[in-house]
Symmetry: C2
Subunit: 238 residues, 2 copies
């Protein structure tokens, strides 16, 4: 359960009446005295004990005594995927603990994707909160959108990636695997369905990126994201 | 495009009229002389050139001269997930090139999951064919279902995992990562949402498995599958 600053009615007491209340009552079916893992947005985690529950709201007495799990210090750069996939990519990245995510325009990104309701702040907040709850985390990620490819690469990307290795994944990069990367902090660039154009790859390579491969198979965008972040998280973040 | 033995009308000529025809005509919008990556079930891959397309079917002249991509020799053992997740897990595993997949009952697997229409042979074939097309592969995986946990672990699992390292993922295994595994062929055991019981973990450990962690975060089943297989594929299969 993710608690927000304005849920507090007293120092260690919160009252919730929105969809989180519904979740506690109808899905988890919790009763008075039951406890639930709880964390406060951008703060500590711990336990919440239900002290009152009725038709309208739930009150929790909370004890937050632990730090949230370590973050994944890497940065994810992802060509804006189609809306359904965007949702899953964002969810996956946040679940894997990434705290900085950039979505950008590329040649094979359909312009209509930018009009998706999933990109509204409300929708993003919901996806992010879900992912934080899933991974018992409280730290909000920073999410950026870039609608001009060249500006994004030459300005934002170039400046962001000065101090750590950064990989752009492309099927032609047969012999370079991120396995060779021993850095805990990396940048990972995932292309659109259909891949980057030659010009796009070249521009990334001119601006700090190295080319890398995820193997011989063409992966879906969300599979590539999980594969890279899971590898980075399980393998390098020891 | 995945070709099956009974699509052949001549040695190098196939005719297709099912959903694959619809896909070629309506989604890919291909015309006469266009080519499409093609492979024959359990055989080679190459190109197919459209020689005829009308309202009912498409004819392709095919040249299959390449081997499908290398397989992922690992075995995936996964507690049967709820139907929607089952679909994604199967899709992901096949996309990552795994050729042997076992789904099994565990304490926290709801019995109703076994009644899902997604588990019908028809549905499985569709998911598998989609995944093979996505990853430009032709080799069908073997998929097994085990409804008795103890029999599965003591009999099937024990016999299958004699000759390579096998990892059961559990959040308490804080210090053991599969990063230490240098084997190309591994067994990976993914638990149900809610995790394995103590008894279940113990039984796996008594029957060849080592305990391992995917990091401090609780991952969704499909995230764990991608994370493990992606790591295995990118990292170890060099």
């Amino acid at each position: 359960m993710l608690i927000k600053p304005n849920d507090f009615v007293d120092e260690n007491l919160v009252e919730i009446s929105d969809f989180r209340f519904e979740h506690i009552k109808k899905i988890l079916k919790l009763k008075i005295s039951d406890t639930i893992k709880t964390g406060v947005l951008n703060g500590k985690i711990g336990a919440g004990k239900i002290t009152k529950i009725d038709e309208k709201s739930v009150k929790l007495e909370i004890l937050l005594d632990k730090e949230p799990p370590p973050i994944n210090p890497s940065i994810l750069f992802c060509a804006l995927p189609r809306p359904k996939v965007f949702r899953r990519v964002l969810l996956n990245a946040v679940c894997f603990g990434v705290k900085e995510i950039h979505f950008f325009q590329a040649f094979k990104v359909e312009k209509s994707y930018w009009q998706s309701p999933f990109l509204s702040q409300d929708s993003i907040n919901k996806i992010v909160e879900n992912a934080l709850m899933q991974s018992v985390d409280t730290i909000l990620p920073e999410i950026y959108f870039h609608r001009l490819f060249k500006n994004f690469v030459e300005d934002v990307f170039y400046k962001k990636t000065q101090k750590f290795p950064c990989f752009v994944f492309h099927p032609t990069a047969e012999n370079l695997r991120i396995f060779d990367c021993n850095s805990k902090k990396c940048g990972f660039v995932i292309g659109p369905e259909g891949g980057f154009t030659y010009y796009e790859i070249e521009l990334f390579l001119k601006n700090n990126a190295k080319i890398a491969s995820l193997g011989d198979r063409i992966l879906r965008v969300e599979q590539a994201v999980c594969s890279v972040l899971g590898f980075n998280y399980s393998g390098n973040l020891q």
